[in-house]
């Protein structure tokens, strides 16, 4: 309650005195009472790396003393396993809240959004966060509408407790936005912009089970989970891989795309694809990199037979080193590449496979 009043007072003040000095003061004042709820994503007993990145982002909202709570929902023993892992995933996590019920067995937006709102009603949070994964993007806007607030999607930089930068127009412009509402600030975090540094400090947060006896559901049973087809691969996850090797339409066939996979294996990297390669059926669509696919920011990004449409570039711009191999010397990909090689990928890839040093 006090937080709401304070927030309101601060936002009013800002409107009257829009000077920079005043704003920085307000932010410091505000940061004392930042409490963040993070909707965590977990799978088979462990927390996903994207969620840890979201914790890193939460820490930039205010001072170290602010509290970060992780909310885990699901059912059964794998949930409890994930919860105990979540408790020590990052030293700044102060509390792990566990909602164990059959209703959360699958991540359906309706019960999960209700749950976040339910938890928020019991404990006042200034910020509600999730990663900008398909999971977070599905659920958080629904949460925001239930709270009657505007969410901010795909935050790449946090400037203060209520000021953020997010990309628009496929990353061709950066928009600095300020949240001025009175309710909780709802954000999804572009996790590649908040890398997780190795954690030395070990600390275990308290784990508490949420009492769901008062949890009401109305629209919940109106959607049902039918099934899932996942692509099991040995390779690292595309979103967090150190090396990403991508192929475009120029690969011409599923068989030829195997060369990309071999190269990725050799470098210990993940395989990505352009929309053209996905539409041509060379690889499944969850490997698509770009504005509407995955956003990657690896140390090394290698593009073979990729022209470099803006929608694709939107997904790779933050890579440390970009290498492009293309027959067409005028391909736009060369404008963003650190190292470009004009040549036939059917000659270049085998040569690379032969000459690259083996990764241990």
């Amino acid at each position: 309650m006090t937080r709401t009043i304070l927030l309101r007072a601060l936002t009013n003040k800002k409107k009257l005195v829009p000077s920079n000095s005043h704003r920085s003061i307000s932010i410091t004042n505000l940061s004392r009472c930042i409490s963040t709820l993070i909707l965590a994503e977990h799978e088979s007993g462990s927390i996903k790396p994207q969620t840890v990145s979201t914790v890193v982002a939460a820490n930039q909202l205010g001072e170290k003393s602010s509290s970060v709570s992780l909310l885990l929902a699901g059912s059964g023993s794998s949930l409890q396993e994930a919860a105990s892992q979540a408790a020590s995933c990052h030293p700044s996590v102060s509390e792990v809240l566990v909602a164990d019920s059959d209703r959360f067995e699958y991540p359906l937006a309706e019960p999960w959004a209700k749950l976040v709102d339910f938890v928020r009603q019991q404990r006042d949070y200034s910020h509600i966060l999730a990663s900008s994964s398909s999971f977070g993007k599905n659920i958080l806007p629904r949460v925001a509408a239930l709270l009657d607030v505007s969410p901010v999607t795909d935050v790449v930089k946090i400037l203060g407790s209520n000021e953020f930068i997010r990309p628009i127009y496929a990353g061709n412009a950066l928009c600095r936005v300020r949240y001025t509402g009175a309710g909780p600030c709802v954000l999804t975090i572009r996790t590649t912009s908040f890398p997780v540094t190795p954690i030395t400090e070990s600390k275990k947060a308290t784990i508490s089970q949420i009492d769901l006896s008062n949890f009401k559901e109305d629209s919940v049973s109106r959607s049902r989970y039918v099934g899932q087809s996942t692509q099991d691969t040995e390779r690292p996850d595309l979103g967090s891989a150190r090396v990403v090797i991508t192929g475009g339409r120029a690969l011409k066939s599923v068989e030829n795309f195997k060369m990309i996979e071999k190269l990725a294996e050799k470098l210990g990297g993940a395989v990505g694809a352009t929309r053209a390669a996905v539409d041509a059926g060379y690889v499944p669509n969850d490997l698509q990199v770009g504005q509407t696919g995955k956003i990657v920011a690896p140390e090394l990004y290698m593009a073979f037979g990729v022209s470099g449409a803006i929608q694709h570039l939107a997904g790779i711009k933050d890579s440390k080193v970009i290498v492009a191999v293309n027959k067409d010397a005028d391909a736009p990909i060369f404008q963003v590449a650190d190292y470009g090689l004009v040549g036939d990928l059917f000659e270049v890839i085998p040569e690379l496979l032969e000459k690259l040093p083996e990764k241990k």
Partner: protein
């Protein structure tokens, strides 16, 4: 059943945008505008469901300045039965406001399905569909790559969703909100006779007052800037040179 499809007029996807020098936004004057690609896919899917006999009427809705009528005409030429234009000149609306407008329209029109694109390619928000579903208390199926309306009587739809790591299948009771991903379908082109026919299809004008929507703006755009340019790279002449650079200059292999 009636299907409501929300379509947005945005800067054409092929246009290289320019940030205004005063940093207030992106220059949209004298720039080619089109229907948001994801909205086209949403409309196409609605039309296919109608053609399969599961829906009687497809209504296209667009919210914004008067030029949105052009976007609606495009939709009518593709095959939508009628259009609704919610005129709003004032400013750019947040997805929450759009969602409230769509909710009010849904209360009046009583559609069995609301189709939206998964995101608009200008603000890249990816929020409106989820928010409409929340406000209506309807189930949602986002990022759809396949939609099957299974039963005329039982009224539910089975939707394949594109999620991280693969595909997920949901079954949602109607009425529901579905947002479309790129692979759902290939939108049709409007033929000349259909474009001519579209001119006589009705477009109803509505205002925010008609719909009693309170416009909330709790997000303020402070500034819009250009992203940092990557410094220009080098073109190497051989695989050996490339490996050498990656090893000794970039230290990434």
């Amino acid at each position: 059943m009636k299907i409501l499809v929300a379509v947005k007029r945005v800067v054409d996807y092929a246009v290289k945008i320019r940030v205004k020098p005063d940093k207030t936004g992106v220059d949209t004057q004298n720039v080619k505008m089109s229907m948001n690609p994801f909205c086209e896919i949403a409309l196409e899917e609605a039309l296919r469901i109608k053609e399969a006999g599961f829906a009687k009427e497809v209504v296209a809705v667009s919210i914004g300045p008067s030029q949105c009528v052009d976007t609606l005409r495009t939709g009518l030429a593709m095959g939508a039965d009628r259009g609704i234009h919610v005129e709003a000149n004032s400013s750019i609306f947040l997805p929450l406001t759009i969602a409230k407008i769509l909710k009010s329209l849904a209360d009046v029109e009583n559609p069995g399905l609301i189709f939206l694109g998964k995101q608009a390619i200008d603000d890249d928000c990816n929020q409106t569909g989820q928010m409409v579903a929340a406000l209506l208390g309807w189930p949602q199926a986002t990022f759809a790559s396949k939609v099957v309306v299974l039963d005329k009587d039982k009224q539910f739809a089975t939707v394949d969703r594109e999620v991280d790591g693969g595909l997920e299948t949901l079954s949602v009771d109607l009425p529901a909100v579905i947002t479309t991903d790129l692979r759902l379908n290939q939108p049709r082109y409007a033929t000349l006779p259909n474009i001519m026919k579209a001119k006589s299809k009705p477009i109803k004008k509505m205002t925010l007052e008609d719909l009693k929507v309170d416009v909330k703006s709790d997000i303020e755009i402070v500034e819009v800037t250009e992203p940092a340019k990557r410094k220009s790279g080098v073109i190497v002449s051989s695989v050996d040179e490339l490996i050498d650079k990656l090893k000794n200059e970039a230290h990434v292999v």
